[in-house]
Subunit: 660 residues, 2 copies
C-alpha cells in the first residue's frame, strides 16, 4: 500500500508521547536516500551530517526549462492564540500525498527561530505523527542560515556606528586617504564596491586622484543622520532587555552614544532578502541596496555605500541553499528562510519553492505554508512572494477549526494557558455557523487570486457531526472547491492519518485505542483535484504602478475596512519613500493576525472600520514597504519558567530530551 | 617522492598571489579521502559539504586503549606586532612531516573569529603555500561552532536579566508557583535541573509541596546582585559600540536598566569550556557550573541555578565535535575551538588533540599551536590544557625571527602599517645577539616542563648568514635540542617548502624564480628526533594545591618578576574565590604578549620588576582563575577602511574574492 521507496514503519504509542520522543522513536533515513528519491545526485547537494543536506542553487539552472509541478499554499482562518494546526496539516497533507497517494511531493516550510524553542512556544516541526525530523536539528541550528543572518546583520550594524565615529573625527581628506590609501608606489585605487557609490553620486572618474574636493567629500562622507537609522542589531534569542538600549558608552567611543535596540534575528531584513531572492546575483544586489537610514540631506544610505554588499553576500552564500530534511514518513521537506509574518512577509523561500517545483515535476506537488491567517500570510504569498518569483499556485488550502469558528461566532475569549470555556467543549451549531463569516471571507479573498480553495477542517474529538457539517456547508456556499474533515485524535490536534492507522491495523502494529481517524488522504485527493481543475488565471490584488496609498487601501479593503487613516508620521514616511523613488514596491502590512481588522478583539468578519496606519517603513533590499498597523514586538521575552528548564542532553546517547 | 595517498600537485605562481587566490587555485580533495587516510569510516564523521567534516566524539571511545602518537606544541618568542609566522610554520611543519617525510600527522589549530576576517587582520588559515583550505570556509562560519557559542552565551545572558526582572515583580510564592506549576491533577514536580539547585541548597525533598516557606524562598529567589554580574553578551563581530551599553530601557522593562557590554564571541567562557572539555558529560557539568555573578549574600550563582546547564549543552552538542579540514598539500587538520589567549588559555581543544593522537598512532605526530608568545600560550598549554587532558607533549617548537630578536636587542619599535626601520633590513649581528635573551628565556622556561625544545628560525630574505648563525648558537647555548632555519621567501613571511620546490623543479612545474628555500623538512626531521629522544618526564610549573597567590607568583617568576603587587580589588577577589572554594583551579594570566613583563615596551628578558595584578576574575566552568595584568580589550573595533571593502562573491562561480 505504501509504495514510496523511502516510506517507513511507524511505531505508534498511546497516549501520544512528547513530540521529541516521537521524533526520536523513528530512525530517520539517510538524507541521501531522500535526495535520490527526488533524482538528486550527490553533486546537487552538500551533506550536513546524515539527516540534513543543502540543495545547491545550480540545480535550478540544470532543471531550467523542465516543467513545474502543482503549487499549493496552506493558509488558515483567523486563528485563536492556540493555533489551528496549520503546520501539522501541511506536513500531514504531504505525508498523505507522498507516502499514501504515491505522488512526488515536497513540503516547503520556514526555519523556526531558536528563540521561542527555549522560551514559551517550543519547537515548530509540526506535531505528533506529522513532524519534520530530526526535530531537534530542525528547531536548533539547522544548517546555520539564521546564524549567518545574525552575523551579516550585525556586521552591517557595526559598520554604521563605526563609520559615523570615524567620520566625526576626520577631515574629508583624511577620510578619503584612509578609504583609498596609496599603495607602495603612491598610487590610489577604488575597490570595486566603491564604484557603486561613485555611480550613485554621478561621478564617473576611475582615478581617486582626479576627484575634486567636493567629490571627495560626497564620496567619503556618508553623513548619516543618527535619528534616521532604521537598522537595528539582531540576536536569535528571546532577550527582552535588548529591546531598547544605549550603545557607545565606552570611554574610547568618545561620547558618541546612541539609542537603538535588538530584534530577534528572523526579523532582520536579511531574512526577508533570503526568502525573496532568486539567485546569488540577485541576492548580491538586494543586500547591497538595503537602506539603513538617510544622510542628513535626506538621501537613503545603503549597505553598498558602507562598502558591505559583497561581504554580506559572502556571509550568506551558503544560506541561500535550502535544507533538505524529511517527514516522519520519509517524504522530502525543504526548510528555508523564516521571515516575520508582520513586519516581513512570513513565507518560506522563493528559491526552495522553485527548486521543489522542478524536482516534483508535472503531476507532483509542492506544498508551502504561509504564516499567520490567510489575510496576512497568504495575501503576502500572492502579492509579494509570487510577484517576485513569477510562480503561479493552483490551490490554496485554508485550515479551519470548529474551535476558532466558535470564537468568531461570539464565543468567549480563548487564552493560552487557561482552560477552554464550556462553549468550546459542547455542541453549539449556531455559534459555529455565526463564525463561518470569517472562513467565508478568507475563501472569497483567496478565490480572487484565481486559485481553487480547499478548506481543511482540523477536527478535535469534541467537535460534533452537526458542527462539522455546518463548516462544510459554509465553505461550499462561500465558493470553496472542497471542504474536507481531517480528524486528529483528541488531545491537542496531534494524530495519525487514516492510511497509517489502517496499515498499522493490517499489520497488527497498533497499540493505540483509535476511535477516530484523520482524513488527510481525503485532503490529499481534494487538493489533487483542485490543482487539476483550475479554470481561472492568477490575478494580483493590486498592480505595482499605483501609489503607496492606493496599494495600502486595496489591501485594507480586502480586510473589510471602509477606509484608511494615516498618522502624521505615516504621511511623512510615505512622502519620503515616494520622493526617494520607492513607490513601485509591493506592500507588506504589519497587522495583528487575530482579526481582519487592526483590533485583535474584533472577531468574525468585521467591516466598515477605518484602518489606522501608525507608521510606514521599508525593506528596500527585500523589496517591500511595510505600513505598521499598531505596535509590533520584534523581540520576544522569556517567561518566569522558560522551556529550557526541561531541555537537556542525554550525554550517554547524545540525544536531546525535553524539547517540545 | 611524495607518497601520501592524498598528496597533490601545487601550481606555484610568482609573485605569490593573495592567500585566497592560492587557496582557490587548488581543488581540495573530498574530505572523505582525507578521513580515509586517517582510517576513519563514514560512521566516524558527519560531512559538512564536501571539504569539511565533523569527527564524532565516539571515535575516542572506539580508540580507547590504543597508543598515542607524538605530541608537539608550537609556541613563539615574544613577537612584534607583525607576528612571526607561527601559524604558517605550524602548517608548513605538518606539510613537511605528512607530505614529504611520509609520517602520519594531524595539525590541530584554533578556529578564528569571524570579526577580524572583516576587520583589520584578515583570515588566519596560515599563509602563502602553507594554508588550511578551503580558506574561506575556515575563516567564515566553518561548521557553526562559534555561532553555537554565541547562541548559548546569549541565552544565558537573557536568562539572567529576565530572571532578575521576574524576581523583582513577584512574591516568593508566585515565583515558586510559576517555576513549579501544578499540572492538570494539581500535582507539582521539580524538573531534573532543579534538583541540582536543591542539592546545592542542602534540600533533599523531592515533592515541591513539602518545601517550607524558607526553602521556597531560597529555591525560587536567586537574588542576583546586579553589580556582581560578570556574564556579558557576545557577538562574533568587531562592534566597538557594544563595549559598554545600557540595557533594559524599553518601557516594558519597567526601569530595570543596567550597564553591561558585549565581548567578541571567542572571549565567551563557553569557548574556553569547549576547548578544555573532555566529553559530553564533562561539558554538561562545566556549562552548568559556570558562575555568572553572586547572590546578594555572596554565593556564586551558576547556569544550573538558572535552569540552563542542559539547554546550553544541547546548543553545544555538535560544537564538541572537531572539524576535519586539509592543508594545501592534503594533510589532515582538525580545527576546533579558539579561546582568547589572555582572558582565556589560547589553545585549540583537548578533544581534537586527543582524537588526533589516537588517529596518528605511535610514530605519528600531532602538532598543535599555542597562541601568543610561549610565556603565555605554551605556559597555559602546559599548566591548564595538559593538566585537564592528561596528555604529555614530547617537543615544544619555538618560532623565532631575526626581526623580532633585533627588536628585543634594542631595535626601534616595530609598528604595524609603518615601514620597517633600516635596522631590520641590514645586517646587525650584535643587535640579534643582544635580543637572544628573549629566546633563551623562552627555551629555558619550556625546558622546565621536561620537553625537548626545537627552535624554528623563520627566515626573511633580509636576514644574513651571520645573523642566523647567531640565533642558532644562542638557541643551542640555551639548551635547545636543535635550531633549524626555515626559509620563506622574501616578502611577508609567506613561502614554499624546499621539498615542494625540489619536487616542482623535478616536475618542471616551477614558474617561480626561487633563490631561497625553506627548510621545513629539516624542521620536520628535528622535531621527529626531539620527540624520539625525550629523557625527562613532564613537570608542571606549579601544583594545584597551593594558594591562588602562590600560583600567581610561580608564573610571575617565570616571567622574570621579582614579586607581585595586588590591587585592593584583586585582594578582594582572591579572598572571595578562596572563600567560595575555588583555590584548586589553575591560573590563566591575562597579560600582554608583547613583553615578558606587564609593560609591552619592555623587550628582551626583563627581570626584577613587580608584576601588578589589577583584578582577578574566574571562569569556573572552564576551570581557571584569571588575574588581569593591565587592561584587556575583549571587543575589537573596525578601522575606517575594513577588509570588507575588498570582499565579494563572484556570483557566477560562487567563489569568494578579496579575502586575505
Amino acid at each position: 500500500m505504501v509504495s514510496s521507496k523511502t516510506a517507513r514503519k511507524l511505531e505508534v504509542a498511546s497516549p501520544v508521547p512528547a513530540d521529541i520522543d516521537i521524533a526520536n522513536s523513528v530512525s530517520p533515513l539517510h538524507i541521501s536516500d531522500i535526495a535520490a528519491d527526488l533524482n538528486l545526485s550527490p553533486h546537487h547537494y552538500d551533506l550536513y551530517g546524515k539527516f540534513k543536506a543543502k540543495v545547491l542553487l545550480p540545480v535550478l539552472d540544470e532543471f531550467q526549462g523542465s516543467p513545474d509541478g502543482y503549487y499549493v499554499v496552506v493558509g488558515g482562518i483567523t486563528p485563536t492564540p492556540l493555533g489551528e494546526g496549520k503546520s501539522t496539516t501541511t506536513v500531514g497533507l504531504c505525508q498523505a500525498l507522498g507516502a499514501f497517494l504515491d505522488k512526488k511531493v515536497v513540503t516547503c516550510i520556514r526555519q523556526p527561530s531558536q528563540g521561542p524553542t527555549f522560551g514559551i512556544k517550543g519547537g515548530a516541526a509540526g506535531g505528533g505523527y506529522s513532524q519534520v525530523i530530526p526535530m531537534d536539528e530542525f528547531n536548533l541550528h539547522l544548517t546555520g542560515d539564521i546564524h549567518a543572518i545574525t552575523a551579516a546583520n550585525n556586521l552591517l550594524a557595526a559598520a554604521i556606528d563605526t563609520r559615523m565615529f570615524h567620520e566625526a573625527s576626520q577631515s574629508d581628506k583624511a577620510l578619503f586617504n584612509r578609504l583609498c590609501p596609496p599603495n607602495k608606489e603612491g598610487k590610489r585605487t577604488f575597490s570595486d564596491i566603491m564604484f557603486r557609490r561613485l555611480k550613485k553620486l554621478g561621478i564617473d572618474k576611475t582615478n581617486p586622484d582626479d576627484l575634486t574636493p567636493e567629490e571627495v567629500k560626497s564620496f567619503a562622507r556618508l553623513d548619516i543622520d543618527p535619528d534616521s537609522i532604521t537598522w537595528r542589531r539582531v540576536m536569535d534569542v528571546n532577550d527582552r532587555f535588548l529591546r531598547k538600549i544605549t550603545v557607545g558608552q565606552g570611554p574610547e567611543e568618545k561620547g558618541m552614544v546612541r539609542e537603538t535596540g535588538f530584534d530577534i534575528s528572523v526579523a532582520s531584513e536579511i531574512m526577508a532578502v533570503l526568502a525573496l531572492t532568486t539567485s546569488l546575483a540577485d541576492m548580491r544586489e538586494r543586500l547591497g541596496k538595503m537602506v539603513i537610514g538617510n544622510s542628513k540631506a535626506g538621501d537613503p544610505v545603503t549597505a553598498d555605500d558602507l562598502g558591505l554588499g559583497g561581504a554580506l553576500t559572502v556571509l550568506m552564500k551558503d544560506a541561500i541553499n535550502p535544507t533538505l530534511m524529511q517527514t516522519l514518513e520519509g517524504t522530502p521537506v525543504l526548510v528555508h528562510a523564516g521571515p516575520f509574518a508582520n513586519i516581513a512577509h512570513g513565507n518560506s523561500s522563493v528559491v526552495a519553492d522553485k527548486i521543489a517545483l522542478k524536482l516534483v515535476g508535472p503531476g507532483g506537488f509542492v506544498v508551502t505554508e504561509a504564516g499567520f491567517g490567510a489575510d496576512i500570510g497568504a495575501e503576502k504569498f500572492m502579492n509579494i512572494k509570487c510577484r517576485y518569483s513569477g510562480l503561479t499556485p493552483q490551490c490554496a488550502v485554508i485550515v479551519a477549526t470548529v474551535r476558532a469558528l466558535k470564537m468568531h461566532g461570539g464565543g468567549p475569549a480563548v487564552v493560552a494557558g487557561r482552560p477552554l470555556d464550556r462553549a468550546y467543549l459542547t455542541e453549539n451549531v449556531s455559534l459555529v455557523e455565526a463564525g463561518c463569516v470569517n472562513l467565508a471571507r478568507h475563501i472569497s479573498n483567496m478565490k480572487a487570486y484565481g486559485v481553487n480553495v480547499v478548506v481543511a477542517i482540523n477536527m478535535f474529538s469534541t467537535d460534533t457531526e452537526a458542527e462539522l457539517n455546518a463548516v462544510k456547508k459554509a465553505a461550499t456556499d462561500a465558493g470553496a472547491f472542497d471542504a474536507v474533515i481531517c480528524t486528529h485524535h483528541a488531545h491537542g490536534g496531534k494524530g495519525a492519518c487514516r492510511f497509517l492507522v489502517s496499515w498499522l491495523l493490517a499489520n497488527n502494529a497498533l497499540s493505540l485505542n483509535v476511535t477516530e481517524y484523520c482524513d488527510k488522504v481525503d485532503l490529499g485527493i481534494a487538493v489533487q483535484k483542485a490543482c487539476e481543475n483550475v479554470t481561472e488565471t492568477m490575478r494580483f490584488l493590486y498592480p505595482l504602478d499605483i501609489s503607496i496609498k492606493e496599494k495600502i487601501e486595496a489591501i485594507a479593503k480586502s480586510y473589510g475596512a471602509a477606509g484608511v487613516e494615516y498618522s502624521e508620521q505615516a504621511e511623512k514616511q510615505i512622502a519620503m519613500y515616494t520622493s526617494q523613488g520607492f513607490t513601485h514596491l509591493p506592500i507588506c502590512m504589519a497587522k495583528t493576525q487575530y482579526s481582519f481588522s487592526h483590533n485583535a478583539a474584533e472577531k468574525g468578519a468585521p467591516s466598515g472600520f477605518i484602518l489606522p496606519i501608525r507608521d510606514v517603513r521599508a525593506s528596500i533590499g527585500a523589496g517591500f514597504i511595510y505600513p505598521l498597523v499598531g505596535t509590533m514586538s520584534t523581540m520576544p521575552g522569556l517567561p518566569t519558567r522558560p522551556c529550557f528548564f526541561d531541555i537537556d542532553l542525554d550525554t550517554t546517547t547524545g540525544r536531546v530530551i525535553g524539547l517540545s
